[in-house]
């Protein structure tokens, strides 16, 4: 990524925003697994 690239409006850097997106996916998978287990 070029050095001049502006930061996103939240979290301060794109890396953190990407981590948020991937973290949410991981959380969803864990919660879905828990959901399946809790109601099966």
């Amino acid at each position: 990524m070029p050095m001049t690239e502006p930061a996103p409006p939240l979290l301060g850097s794109w890396k953190r925003l990407y981590a948020l997106v991937l973290g949410e996916l991981l959380l969803c998978i864990l919660l879905f697994r828990l959901f399946s287990w809790a109601f099966s």
Binding site: W14, L20, V21, R33, F35, S36
Partner: protein
């Protein structure tokens, strides 16, 4: 439908068209018409991306999928956030730096004209055919359940979409998408709340989830690896990743949405917004389907939700046998309802042994009902040879029409129309843009002024007419429809492979990528024809084949300096 339902439906659709027309007015250049003026904010881009991929059949079929098969379909979308992050880092900056109008322009800068044209034409073929099905499938469901004419349905959707898409281009499409997403969200949310509300008074939301889970409908995550199993964690994460990478990175119907962003930041945020919303959204739609399944544990469902094939059986020699199976099924379901009530009562008692016994009895009763249903399906299949006896797409709308209150029925049907219109508008707009930018502008030439706006309008109109004509023809395709449905995966892998080669295999030049793509495409088509591999894996196979073949072929290409301005990797 009641007058109130008609009023809600007509008002919603009229608003979408007028809103799109109003917000999309004023395109005076080709760039303004195709690029939407490049002033869209992230939330508009995000809504437009979601709306383009949310066709009517997505949310007609998805609750039905949960009803029949459980919630594991959500795993299909697990590759999306991964793909969105990869695209935000790699392709989006490049698209913005080169100020391209279509994804395929990039390939000429890196390879040559014929590789660009190959990718553009593959897109036009697969998307051009798919857009017809986008409007045909929901029109068929509506015509069967509501008794409306299939042709009138197709005509209404097609004409409404073309009014604002042909007139206003990308900007009109994006703003119409925002209103369509509001209608879809309201319709689905209210349907979900009302479904939970319509369960028997003694059945709480938690009880409903235990009933659904006890009968195998809350199986969200399947970690067992099986390449022939369409929906599991691994096919979603790996196969889905490549599918989403190709769809969001190289399919013009999506690329056009985020290229309309005012800058790279807005485009990225729009794509990431979609990545964060899509998985929970699909989960909620599937949960709605699971709730409909629970609803029918306490109310009698029909043996088969699609009345069309049932009429065929009742008109044939197996009518008596089918009637007898229906009666047997009704009796079994009455018994199953009592077992479901007993299970809920046992849960309220808190006695573990009673709960286990009641759950076992409910499962057994459900298995008996399913066995009878399979007998009915066999009769339907016999009376409708060559067709797939599936009523998945009909379950949700049949439930809405029979069980939801006046007004909400109109809103849900408006949501179905909105879904149909949103995907069709995004797709014909992209088909028009690719025709203008990659074929007309590149091969015929011309200015990007008012003349190009009119060429864009004619191309978009022509693709809209083609979509409607194909939708009419689709009624005669029968079982071939399923093959057309997986068309995307047959081509996406190859297109993605060309783009990945462009990025990461620097030694490959023009003709080499072109011939590698041709050979890989033949390989993917051979996999489809001769193997049982699930279609999601075609994306990986096609992509890997292009990259590996291009790399291998590059050792035989003439030595030549790398062209200047090659994309950085």
């Amino acid at each position: 439908m009641s007058r109130l339902d008609w009023f809600v439906l007509a008002s919603a659709l009229l608003f979408v068209v007028l809103w799109g027309l109003w917000k999309g007015r004023g395109a005076t250049t080709g760039e303004g018409y195709i690029g939407g003026g490049r002033d869209h904010r992230w939330w508009l881009i995000g809504l437009s991306i979601i709306a383009t991929q949310t066709s009517a059949i997505t949310f007609l079929s998805t609750p039905g999928q949960a009803y029949v098969d459980g919630m594991r379909f959500v795993q299909f979308y697990f590759g999306l956030p991964l793909a969105a992050v990869v695209l935000s880092v790699t392709l989006l900056p490049l698209y913005h730096r080169l100020k391209v109008s279509t994804a395929y322009e990039l390939l000429e800068a890196r390879f040559d004209l014929k590789t660009r044209l190959l990718a553009a034409i593959l897109f036009l073929i697969q998307r051009g055919l798919a857009v017809g099905l986008t409007i045909f499938a929901p029109a068929l469901v509506l015509s069967v359940l509501l008794g409306w004419s299939l042709h009138v349905n197709i005509l209404i959707v097609g004409v409404l979409v073309m009014i604002y898409t042909v007139t206003g281009g990308t900007k009109a499409v994006a703003w119409a998408h925002s209103s369509q997403m509001v209608i879809i969200a309201c319709g689905m949310l209210l349907a979900g709340v009302m479904t939970a509300h319509r369960l028997p008074a003694e059945v709480s939301f938690g009880d409903a989830l235990h009933v659904a889970g006890g009968l195998g409908r809350l199986n969200v995550i399947d970690t067992h690896f099986d390449p022939n199993n369409r929906y599991n964690l691994w096919s979603g994460l790996i196969g889905g990743f490549f599918l989403m990478l190709s769809y969001f990175g190289t399919d013009q119907s999506q690329v056009q949405r985020y290229l309309a962003g005012s800058d790279l930041t807005q485009s990225r945020l729009g794509l990431l917004m979609n990545a964060m919303i899509k998985v929970p959204m699909q989960f909620l739609i599937l949960l709605l389907g699971a709730l409909v399944f629970v609803f029918y544990q306490f109310h009698a469902p029909p043996l088969f939700f699609n009345p069309g094939p049932v009429k065929q059986v009742l008109a044939g020699p197996d009518a008596a046998a089918y009637r007898a199976t229906e009666a047997k099924f009704a009796q079994a379901r009455t018994s199953q309802s009592r077992k479901a009530e007993a299970y809920v009562s046992a849960r309220h008692s808190g006695d573990a042994a009673s709960i286990a016994a009641a759950k076992h009895q409910l499962s057994q009763s459900h298995a008996e009902s399913e066995a009878i249903r399979r007998e009915g399906l066999a009769l339907i299949e016999k009376a409708n040879p060559g067709t797939n006896p599936s009523d998945t797409n009909y379950i949700f709308l049949a439930y809405v029409l029979s069980s939801l209150p006046v007004g909400l029925v109109g809103l849900v049907i408006a949501a179905v129309f909105s879904g149909s219109m949103s995907s069709m508008s995004g797709e014909i707009s992209a088909l028009g843009a690719t025709t203008v930018v990659d074929l007309w502008r590149r091969l015929v030439g011309g200015s990007q002024g008012q003349r190009e706006v009119w060429v864009g309008r004619i191309a978009t109109f022509a693709w809209g007419c083609f979509a409607m004509a194909f939708a009419e023809y689709a009624a005669r395709l029968g079982s071939l429809i399923e093959a057309v449905n997986i068309l995307g995966s047959l081509f996406y892998g190859t297109i993605l492979g060309i783009f990945i080669t462009a990025f990461y295999v620097k030694r490959v030049r023009g003709g080499t990528a072109f011939y590698a793509a041709l050979v890989a495409e033949v390989g993917v088509l051979a996999c489809f024809k001769f193997t049982a591999i699930s279609f999601l894996w075609y994306n990986l196979i096609g992509c890997a084949a292009v990259v590996l073949l291009a790399w291998a072929f590059s050792f035989f290409q003439p030595r030549q300096a790398l062209p200047e301005g090659e994309p950085a990797t």
